[in-house]
Symmetry: C3
């Protein structure tokens, strides 16, 4: 209890003299919660605890997170290396051992000085994010997964062959540049986001996954598709949901065919959990697990920590929604939970202050000290 | 003056010795305004005051706030009980004596472990918000109003009969579970948001209000409808305003009929003040007051503290807009001002830092120390 | 290293006694980055620096900023004078010497108690922003530009004659009220935002610019139009880009005619840099500079510090995007860079915490201590 600690400190200080000045200062800031506006004298009473009326630790704990390289729809936080360093420690302290860079580039914005992609007209980044993430992963003994390049052509045309072509070069380049250098390079994320079985998806996933594994002595690969549920709508549009969503049966049929085609080249599938409703979770998760088992894939969940139900797209999710999704994943026997993503939506450092409180609620629920 | 105070403190500390460490630390944090980014050494000069060129205290002071239970369109802050406890103190310190839980549930998300609603398929909440709010209201000597359940069916179908049916059970259950236990249970909010006279609205408001009063020995009830003005548009849509808004005359006619039908079962009406333009306030407020007087209702204003005019929906309102609305309410002789809502849009603790500054501007204008 | 420093401090404190309490406290807050949520004990390691892989200082440094008077599409921060005072110091510390109030009013919201505009039905502001900004500019030895009034009629009708008519009175009034009093009154911003040559634009810009100069003994004037590029879409709408954007050739032709018609009355043109894509910057900037030189205008850039590519409109821009725009401006030989705008999108005080980190990245790149 914070209050008691401080009281004890003050007692000791009275005895010990001057040598203890810095200690209580930090906690004074920590619990002052004085943010917007100036000079508000009130403080939280650290003796107060929340009373949970649900069983604790009934969900699957998150052990991985995407790192958003920020070129798509999540506003940039403009962190420097010291903020990233701190964030890796925040991740680590709640049990995250895996970080996944969501993509190495999107259209012309790229995350490392790729000779190949710069040649193609991409923009030079001011920081080599891949190198930085690999160093931080090594420093904190975490696994780094590299997300492939996304040229945007698939989004524009529905044709995945451009992505295969570009990534032929990117995979080789990246493995030579970083894979052979950093032990923390632990796997590959095949970043093409896909919802249904469409033309070329099986071939694309298979050939990209195969190349990743071949070049890297069999490092694991995974995909993170979305379920074509009712919340599968554009972030920038005016809609929160749509009428024509996929049924569990169609989902099972289409993904059965995909899994059958990609097995051997893809080791895990982490469906995004935010496009379906909370009372649909069990039905879809059960099918996902059944399919994964049948075709020998690991079954992960991509537990979204942002809220798809709000007009501001996107801010951190309500804790109970995250809890229900993690509980469904545990009930379905999933192998691992990762999230999109920690640094904006769960980090005490996030520009969205709701994220730090989500972190608190999460720790409370999982009894993480 | 902060700067001088600190300088004086240092002088005194040099003389007095070590026992004073914690005090100035808090103010050092308070006025450092070091938020985004690291290590900015500049600080506000606390000797500077704003110069107001309008008369102070010419508005009706806010004495009540909704508590948003977060299931609709306001992103969750993920606070635990200690943050709620602090927020009640912030409310109290600017004169708020009434808290109104906006609804006890919306569709499948509910605020307390309702046997009836869980049976219907609603999700179990991790915290009993009703119990927590009632405890905090008791602790700080505030009045708690309970907002009825909203199944969402009215929004989907235009038919209010579902809401009457569900709330028959909810009202009884809640009164037994909390009303008889907590003195702070002080009234009911009939949460159906309505803008015009539509099929069944009079019957619904009357029967729900009547049941609330009957079960609770006549505790007060109120409604908070919206005026069908030009800003009455969907939060998630791309529009900020619409062409076909209600005229003052239509508004008066329709609401005269509604008030006539609900009198006796509803004690106060708090129209939302954000759907009309600032130069329409007087005309609508005058009619609202006239109607309330005629039918024996109290006339409250629901002063929205979020801004409807911005592309981000929603962030805290510009102080001058709030001021104009509260001044119009005072000119019209309104009985009470409540707001939607303090914790996101006016609290120094809010994730939206503009809220804390709105709190400062509000205190400055109402000369609250 | 912060940690060591503090440890050393504690050692020294034990030796030296009590008189040093306040110093390390401020840094404890500064680098604690404990924002969302309570009591997170981790801190940034201040010994870590980012590694930039691009040449530093290759961009044009920002030396001016708009001040948004908040009546249009940027949510209000509700700052009092002491926060504005601090913000001017933050601006100054990165080399900003010019502040431009973007408009003196928009529709019924105005920034100073204008006899003329109040008469026309505008709302009385609670603070005289013009007076405050002029005082702060004087205090910090900065230049203040006054932005003309925008009645909104041009946006509704496409006809600029209303703006000319209103501003006839506003320009005279403002010069008498403030221009003759404050040395910091250093110029005029002709606030009508225009993208293409449309009916009346040349006449409007010319006559308003001429009047500004005539009344003020020739103080400089400038405009800040937008390029009708693919991101020229409504902030509140669902679209991020459009198909029918202007070509460089059309842009050159239309703006050649406009510059020819306004020369002598307008001293500088600061095209907004956010409506075109990053690989179009050089082509448009080259034409802008050529036109400005030909017609004797100064060529400024309005470097937008908010991100037009995100579904939340608007949050601070990714640093690399800002960098690319400032580098393009330097390559094109532009005369000055101003930004829209510092206080929301670059200030360590901003409600958007990403802004403070943008400030850090900006200082790092320009090697500002």
């Amino acid at each position: 209890m914070e209050t008691n600690d401080r009281r004890n400190f003050l007692k000791k200080a009275a005895i010990a003299g001057a040598s203890v000045a810095a200690m209580p200062v930090v906690s004074a800031c920590a619990n002052s919660t004085q943010r917007g506006g100036s000079g508000h004298p009130l403080k939280t009473d650290e003796s107060i605890a929340s009373t949970l009326i649900v069983p604790k630790k009934a969900g699957l704990q998150i052990s991985g997170t995407f790192l958003d390289e920020i070129s798509h729809d999540i506003p940039h936080q403009n962190w420097g290396e010291k903020e990233w360093d701190l964030d890796f420690r925040y991740m680590k302290s709640i049990g995250i051992d895996t970080v996944i860079m969501i993509r190495s580039g999107y259209r012309k914005f790229i995350t490392y000085p790729s000779g190949y992609l710069l040649e193609k007209g991409c923009y030079m980044p001011s920081v080599d994010l891949v190198d930085m993430y690999l160093r931080l992963a090594a420093k904190y003994d975490m696994k780094f997964y590299f997300g492939l390049y996304d040229s945007g052509k698939y989004w524009d045309t529905g044709d995945l062959s451009y992505e295969i072509e570009h990534n032929k070069y990117v995979i080789d380049e990246v493995w030579k540049k970083y894979g052979e250098k950093y032990k923390s390079f632990a796997g590959w994320y095949i970043s093409g986001e896909i919802s249904r079985k469409t033309k070329g998806v099986i071939n694309a996933f298979y050939s990209m996954g195969k190349q990743c594994k071949d070049v890297s002595n069999g490092l694991p690969t995974f995909i993170s598709p979305w379920i074509d549920g009712k919340k599968a709508v554009m972030a920038a549009g005016g809609q929160l949901s749509k009428a024509d969503s996929v049924s569990v049966q169609e989902h099972e049929k289409e993904w059965g065919e995909i899994f059958d085609g990609i097995k051997g080249a893809v080791d895990a599938c982490a469906f995004q959990d935010g496009h379906i409703d909370y009372d649909e979770l069990d039905a879809f998760f059960e099918v996902n697990k059944k399919l994964a088992d049948k075709y020998g894939l690991q079954c992960w969940t991509n537990a979204e920590t942002f809220d798809r139900d709000m007009p501001i797209r996107f801010l951190p999710i309500k804790f109970d929604k995250l809890r229900m999704k993690l509980e469904a994943a545990k009930r379905a026997g999933y192998d691992k939970a990762i999230t999109f993503e920690f640094s904006h939506f769960m980090s005490p450092q996030s520009a969205y202050l709701q994220a730090g409180y989500l972190y608190d609620r999460y720790k409370e629920y999982f009894e993480i000290k």
